[in-house]
């Protein structure tokens, strides 16, 4: 497995050399944008589309403070991916010494010519296995990402930017993940009026998504730590 990965890496390195885009520079410019933000607060609107779960969309607020305080406040029950796309992305990219970055290709996303930057952690014991980021070459911003971790599988995010583009703060993030359909034993659900369904015999993963819509950003407002306490 490791040998395969290395050979692929070599190919990517050659391709990158041919393309002429330095991934480190892209990430550096991106990190500059991240570093402008000490904290932020925004209104959040969450839309859920998960297999086996029916729930209404939820309004809330999101708060962030450097280096790693992050909280979503909303009334009610909701689900957030274990890999927080906003927090993980910046955390992952900030420490440039902990990973190697190579460009594996180019793709147009949202009309932007993006380099596909692969982040490979240098330490084998790290939670991250592989991170792929589609970064706009002209104005370094992550428009798409695919992050694979040991415990949480792969999640795919798509980011759409609006007014806060200069801070690399998105207007919208769409998180796609693969999950097994939730099963509740009939004895617990006590569903007596459901007709029997034919069993397929195969339990396949289904794709779900969570869309986070951000608005009314308040950036570098000197948020206190009390904002992060329940």
């Amino acid at each position: 497995m490791m040998k395969k990965l290395l050979s692929i890496l070599l190919l990517f390195v050659s391709y990158q050399a041919l393309a002429g885009v330095d991934p480190k520079l892209l990430i550096r410019d991106l990190n500059k944008k991240f570093n402008q933000v000490s904290d932020y607060k925004a209104d959040l609107y969450m839309e859920f589309n998960l297999p086996g779960v029916k729930m209404k969309n939820l309004k809330g607020k999101v708060v962030f403070k450097k280096p790693n305080k992050f909280k979503i406040k909303a009334k009610g029950i909701f689900f957030l991916p274990k890999q927080n796309p906003m927090q993980n992305m910046s955390e992952m990219l900030i420490d440039t010494n902990s990973y190697t970055s190579i460009i594996s290709g180019y793709e147009t996303v949202e009309g932007k010519n993006c380099a596909i930057v692969n982040i490979i952690p240098l330490k084998a014991q790290d939670e991250l296995i592989l991170g792929k980021f589609w970064i706009d070459i002209k104005n370094p911003l992550v428009y798409k990402s695919q992050i694979t971790t040991k415990n949480n599988g792969t999640i795919e995010t798509k980011s759409i930017y609006g007014n806060q583009i200069k801070y690399a703060l998105p207007e919208k993030i769409i998180v796609k993940l693969e999950i097994n359909r939730i099963k509740v034993p009939k004895m617990m659900s006590v569903d007596l009026n459901k007709k029997s369904k034919p069993k397929t015999g195969i339990e396949s993963k289904e794709t779900g998504s969570i869309q986070l819509n951000f608005s009314n950003y308040s950036i570098n407002a000197n948020l206190s730590d009390a904002e992060f306490v329940d």
Binding site: G52, V53, A74, I77, N152, V184, M188, N193
Partner: protein
Amino acid sequence: MKEFIAILKNEIIKTIKRPRSFIGFGIIAFICLMLQSAFYHDGKEILSFVTGQLENVFNVEGKVLNGNLICFIVLQTLIVQMPLLVALVTGDLVSGETANGTIRFLLTRPASRTKIVLAKWIAGLFYTLLLLIVLGFFALFVSHWIFGDGDLMALNSEGLTIISADDIIWRWGYAFLIAFLSLSVVATLANMLSCIMDNSITPIVSVMAIIIVFTIIGMFDLPSFDLIKPFLFTTHMISWKSLFEDPIPFHDIWFSIAVLIIHIVLFISISIFYFNRKDINS
């Protein structure tokens, strides 16, 4: 009409003052408090079989263990106990008096047998309503007092439905109404068997046997059972749960209500017909 109201008042007084009527209230309180205590101490572990499936991928935010969820679970666990508690009293309304001999007094008064059966039936429904009120108090209000408010994570065999706390009160209202209708079928069935049989125990045992057998049929996912499930009243007794789905299947709920009402009308008609023709030899 005055005569009927007088008889009805008598029946309600007799039903409420019977010692066994208090058994139902006591058992409901005990079961609710026991479940609430279990969830209070070990709620997260108990829920983990559902939330565990999500926690591989998600962080579940918000107050999952709240009064609404506890109420939802308590109501489901009482699907067998509540009909028994209803039948314990309603199954004895006529047969108990037949066995005791007091039926002779009742039937030698001017009131017709039809009025007597109807009065007993309504007294049985009144008792059923009281049981539900007690259940509602413990399951809903006491649960909220202990666990607080929050969104309801409603479990069904197809997954989860999360219902906002702001959107739940009216659902509980209608759920209890449908539950009352469901238990009214049990009360009417018990009343019918009570009119037919001459001892106290047989109607109660018969009602429980019928409910248990029908419930078991309803739980099995077999195509051959799918043919008869729509006609079993136990299939529709749990239809209150449909109010906690999204979208609410109003068509299915109305169908369940219709089936339950048909059962009630059928059982009470048989009761009146049989009781009017019955010779009182005891």
